[in-house]
């Protein structure tokens, strides 16, 4: 007889059929489903009320606010979080892991994998589906290298050029920048071109996109003119 440590699980999925199927599957694996949730509010309520060991949640719970929701579940309530994705997508895996999930399950998982996943996260491990760890590590390394390159280029942007960049992000025209910074429009255009060159992009739009994506002005301080 195999000894299974029975966990208290909350199942969160917007589809009733999926909730019911997961309930049966989790019970078959020797665990107890203490509550089910169909949306974010009921998930938070269930987690607060039941303090489950594990929360099994659909990847779309929380939407843009998923990281905050998952942080609440994990940090405030001490529950381990397994996210169930509808596709075995590398991008989804990366988003889920970076948002703080303890594990990622794909829609082709079987009962044995579900059981292993719950056991893994209960043991304090992170569960990543077989075959996806290598791709995930590779993706993380590439992203880190890209970010290091961006930070290196941004470090060469002068204080004045950061002022220009901040106004670019705000959507200011060259004329407006000239007024705010007490510069001539010609000088503003020169600064804008310098910023574009130093960031290694091809346009003002790309420069702004880079600043927003990597949150450069917030991370390294803006230089707002007084």
């Amino acid at each position: 007889m195999t000894d299974t440590v029975s966990c208290r699980v909350v199942v969160a999925h917007p589809w009733r059929l999926a909730r019911e199927a997961l309930e049966v599957a989790i019970a078959s694996a020797g665990h107890q489903v203490v509550a089910v949730a169909h949306d974010e509010a009921s998930l938070v309520e269930a987690t607060q009320g039941e303090h489950p060991d594990v929360v099994l949640a659909d990847e779309h719970f929380g939407g843009e606010g998923a990281p905050a929701l998952w942080e609440t579940i994990r940090v405030e309530h001490g529950s381990r979080l397994l996210v169930l994705a509808r596709e075995a997508d590398q991008g989804a895996l990366l988003r889920v892991i970076e948002a703080g999930s303890d594990g990622f399950l794909t829609n082709d998982l079987d009962l044995a994998q579900l059981s292993r996943a719950v056991a893994s996260v209960m043991a304090g491990e992170t569960y990543i589906p077989p075959g996806m760890l290598g791709l995930l590590l590779r993706e993380l390394i590439v992203r880190r290298r890209n970010e290091d390159g961006v930070l290196d280029r941004f470090s060469r942007v002068s204080r004045r050029e950061r002022e220009i960049l901040e106004l670019m992000v705000a959507g200011a025209s060259h004329q407006r920048m000239a007024e705010v910074l007490f510069l001539s429009p010609h000088t503003v255009r020169t600064h804008v071109q310098k910023v574009i060159e130093k960031l290694g992009v091809h346009s003002r739009t790309e420069a702004v996109a880079m600043v927003v994506e990597y949150d450069l002005l917030n991370r390294f301080g803006s230089s707002a003119p007084s």
């Binding site: 892991i97 970076e98 303890d102 491990e125 992170t126 990543i128 077989p130 075959g131 760890l133 290598g134 995930l136 590590l137 590779r138 993380l140 390394i141 880190r144 290298r145």
Partner: protein
């Protein structure tokens, strides 16, 4: 034979897979074979992931950072585990090291 008995406390360059080794999936396990078809060893998921990163361009510190992010483990734990895994692959003659100038 090069002595790799010590851990990689100091940077040793970047690891790369020894030429001629082929990885094949056999019954849900990845097995490494020599070019002549002789079986070398089986790799678990973690070892396979690290093996795939041994491309001659990836520094072990990058592997540590990625494992920390992916698995949520402390850096010293990840570093020790990766150190050990790369040492095992080196001792088994599966990877080679290229010094970085």
């Amino acid at each position: 034979m090069t002595d790799h008995s010590e851990t990689f406390a100091e940077p040793r360059g970047r690891p790369s897979q020894r030429a001629g080794i082929e990885a094949r999936r056999v019954d849900d396990v990845t097995v490494l074979f020599e070019a002549d078809g002789s079986r070398l060893c089986a790799l678990n998921e973690t070892a396979l992931a690290l093996w795939d990163l041994c491309d001659g361009h990836t520094d072990p510190s990058e592997m540590v950072d990625a494992v920390c992010t992916a698995c949520g483990v402390p850096r010293d734990t990840a570093a020790a585990d990766i150190d050990q895994a790369l040492l095992a692959l080196t001792d088994a003659g599966l990877i080679e090291w290229t010094a970085v100038r």
